[in-house]
C-alpha cells in the first residue's frame, strides 16, 4: 500500500540558518506518528514546511504525499488534498465569523472532492455534531475566529476544524503546549475520536505527557534537524525518564 507521506532527505532553511538537515520519515495510512525533540530541533519547522509556509527555503530532498510532490503544491491545494495543520499559535481573525470561515473552508474542500456544497442548515448540524465530539462550546461558533478565545479554546478550535475538514493527514504542532491537564485530556480525547484507518496523524510535541492520552504507533526523536532515533511508544517513556541528551550522544539513524 502506498504511504500517505514519504519524506526523504528533506533540507530546509530560514534565511541563512539551516534548520532541517536531512529528514527521513514515512507515514502509512491510518498510522499515528509522534515527533518529539528538544526546543530548536526543527519539529515546528517540519510542520510548517509540510503545510507550505513560504518563509522557509527548501534546499534539498523531497516530500511525496499519496505519491504526489507535496512541495509543488500551494498551501491551499495541500489543504484541499487532505493535509491539515493544527497550529501551535492559532491566528485570531477579528471580524471573520467562525460560521463564514467554516463555510468557506468546508466548501472548498468538498468542492475539490467532487462533493456537493453543504446547505447552511447541514453545515450547522455538522458543526454542532463535531463540536460535541471534541468538546468545544458551540457558542464559540457565533464569534470571530479565535478572537478572545482562551488558550484551551483556541487549541480545541483547531481540533474542531480538523474534524470539520476530515483530512487524510493531520499534523498537530505542539497542540498540548500551554494547556492545563484537563484541557490536555479533552483535546486528546477529541484526537482519539478522530483516529481512523483513513486518517494518519503526525503529532509534534515537546513533552511525553500528551502521549499518555494519545497512544502513538511510532515515536521519532528529532535532534538538530534530523530524526535521530525512532521506535515504538515505549521510546516516549524512555525519553521521559532519560531526557533528550542521550539521544544526541548515541545517535542511531532510523
Amino acid at each position: 500500500m502506498q504511504p500517505v507521506l514519504e519524506i526523504s532527505n528533506l533540507q530546509a532553511s530560514a534565511g541563512d540558518v539551516s534548520i532541517l538537515k536531512g529528514v527521513n520519515l514515512t507515514v502509512g495510512g491510518g498510522e499515528l506518528h509522534a515527533i518529539m525533540g528538544p526546543n530548536g530541533s526543527g519539529k515546528s519547522t517540519l510542520a510548517a514546511v509540510l503545510a507550505g509556509r513560504d518563509e522557509y527555503q527548501i534546499n534539498g530532498g523531497s516530500v511525496r504525499y499519496r505519491g504526489e510532490d507535496l512541495l509543488e503544491m500551494e498551501p491551499d491545494e495541500r489543504a484541499r488534498e487532505g493535509v491539515f495543520l493544527a497550529f501551535q499559535y492559532p491566528v485570531e481573525l477579528p471580524g471573520v465569523s467562525m460560521m463564514n470561515f467554516l463555510k468557506q473552508a468546508v466548501s472548498s474542500v468538498r468542492e475539490h472532492r467532487g462533493e456537493p456544497p453543504l446547505r447552511a442548515v447541514d453545515l450547522l448540524r455538522l458543526s454542532r455534531e463535531k463540536a460535541a465530539l471534541i468538546g468545544l462550546d458551540h457558542k464559540l461558533v457565533r464569534r470571530s475566529v479565535n478572537e478572545g478565545f482562551s488558550g484551551g479554546e483556541k487549541k480545541r478550535n483547531e481540533i474542531f476544524q480538523l474534524a470539520m475538514l476530515d483530512p487524510v493527514l493531520a499534523i498537530l504542532d505542539e497542540t498540548d503546549s500551554g494547556l492545563d491537564i484537563d484541557a490536555l485530556r479533552s483535546v486528546a480525547d477529541g484526537v482519539n475520536r478522530l483516529r481512523s484507518k483513513e486518517r494518519a496523524f503526525l503529532i509534534i510535541t515537546h513533552y511525553q505527557r500528551l502521549l499518555n492520552y494519545i497512544v502513538p504507533d511510532f515515536v521519532h526523536v528529532m535532534v538538530e534537524g534530523r530524526i535521530a532515533r525512532s521506535g515504538g511508544k515505549e521510546l516516549a517513556l524512555e525519553l521521559e525518564s532519560r531526557g533528550y541528551d542521550w539521544v544526541a550522544r548515541e545517535p542511531i539513524l532510523a
Binding site: A51, G52, R53, D76, A79, F87, N100
Partner: protein, 430 residues
Amino acid sequence: MPARQALEIPFVHAVEKCFAEHLHGDLGWWRDRCHKGMTCFRRLGFPTQRQESWKYTSLASVLRQPLATGGSPIPYPGPLPWVDGLDAHVGVFVDGRLDKSRSSLASLPPGVLVTDLHRAGFSRACNLGTLANSTRHPFVALNTAFLTGGAFVLIDANVFLDKPIHVMHLATSNRGRLAQPRTLVHAFRESRASVIESVHLESAGPSLINAVSEYQLENLTHVSRYELQDPAAHVSCVSSLDVTPGYSSRFENHCFTFGGDVVRNNVRVLQIRMDSETVLNGLFMARNRSHVDNHTLVHHAVPDGFSSENYRGILDDHATGVFNGKVLVAPDAQKTNAYQTNKSIVLSDTARMFAKPELEIYADDVKCSHGATTGQLSEDALFYLRTRGLTIKDARTLLLQAFAGEITGEVPHAALREALNQRVTASLQG
C-alpha cells in the same frame, strides 16, 4: 502667477458667467444668500495645495476641465442601483427639485417633512447657510452662490422615526459639469431619525459634485446620517457637512466612499451644547488613480462632550487616501472624551495613505486619544486561511470584508448594512 491658478481661470470665468445667468432666475428669499456666497467665493478662490488643509489633495485635474457641458444633456439619470430600494422613505431631488413621482414619502409619519428648500419658506429654513460657513469655506460659498433648490428635512419634536429617510440627489448634466446639491436637516427636541444621503450625477465627461449639508439638532435628539458616495471614475466630489448638536444629543455620521476621481469630505461638528456625543465613522475603498480625502473637525467648545471617530480605508493600485482628524478642545471644555482611530490597508506598492491626527487641547481635564495604522494584510492570517483550503484570493477577500465589516457592522438598518456589505464585496472582486 503660479501655473496652478492659471489653470483655474477659465473655470472661475465660467462660474462668473453662470452666476450672472443665475441671478436672472427667481431666487426668492435666498437671493441675498446667493450674493453673499458669491462674494465670499470671489474672495476665497479655490484652495491650493499650499494651504495646510489641502496639502495632500489637488483639484487641478478637476478645475482644468471646462465647466460648460458638451454633447447632448442627459435628461434623467436613475439612482445608483445599489442605493435603490433600501427600505427607506425616499425623497428624490432632481437638480434640487423634489420629484414626487419618483419619491416614496407617502408613509412618512406626521411631524416629518421632506420637501423642497424653496418651498420650506424662510421661517422654517432659517438655518440655511448659518451652519455651513461661506466666509471660510470656498466650496460652501460656491454652493451657496448657486442655490437653486435642495432638500429640506424637518423632524418635529418627540418624533421617533425607525425607517431612514433617504435624500437622493440626482443631477442632470443640463447645468454643466458642476452639480451642487444642498441639504438642510432640522431635528427638533427629543426626536430621533436616520438620514441617508446619496448624490448621483450621470455625465459623459469629467464633472464635479459640490455637496453641502447642514444639520441643526436641537436638545436631546439622536440623528444618524449615512453618506453613500459612489461616483463614476471621472466624477470628483467635494462634500461638506456642518453639524451643531444640541444639549445631551447624539449625532452619528457614517460615510462610505466607493468610487470617484478626487473625493474630499469635510465634516465639521461644533459641540456648543453640553453633554453631546458625536460619532464619526468612515469607510473608503479606492483603486486605480482615485484619491479619497476625509477631513474631520470636532470642536469641543463646552464641557462634558464626547466624540469618537473610526475611519478605515482599503487602497489599491495607484490610489491615495488621506485622513486628517482634528479635535479641538477649548479651555472651558473640561471632562471631554475624544477618541480617534484610523486604520488603512494598502494592497499595492504604489497606493499611498496619509494619516494625520491633529489634537489641539486647551483644557487640562480631558481624555483624548488617537491612533493610526497603515499596513498590509497579515501574512499569518492569510497563511492560516490558506491551510484551511481557501485560495489566496478568497483569503484576501475574507480578511478585507472583515476589515470593512467593522465599519459597515455599525449600521443598524439591516437593508442598508446588507447593501453596503454587498457593495464592499463587489468592490473587492471588481
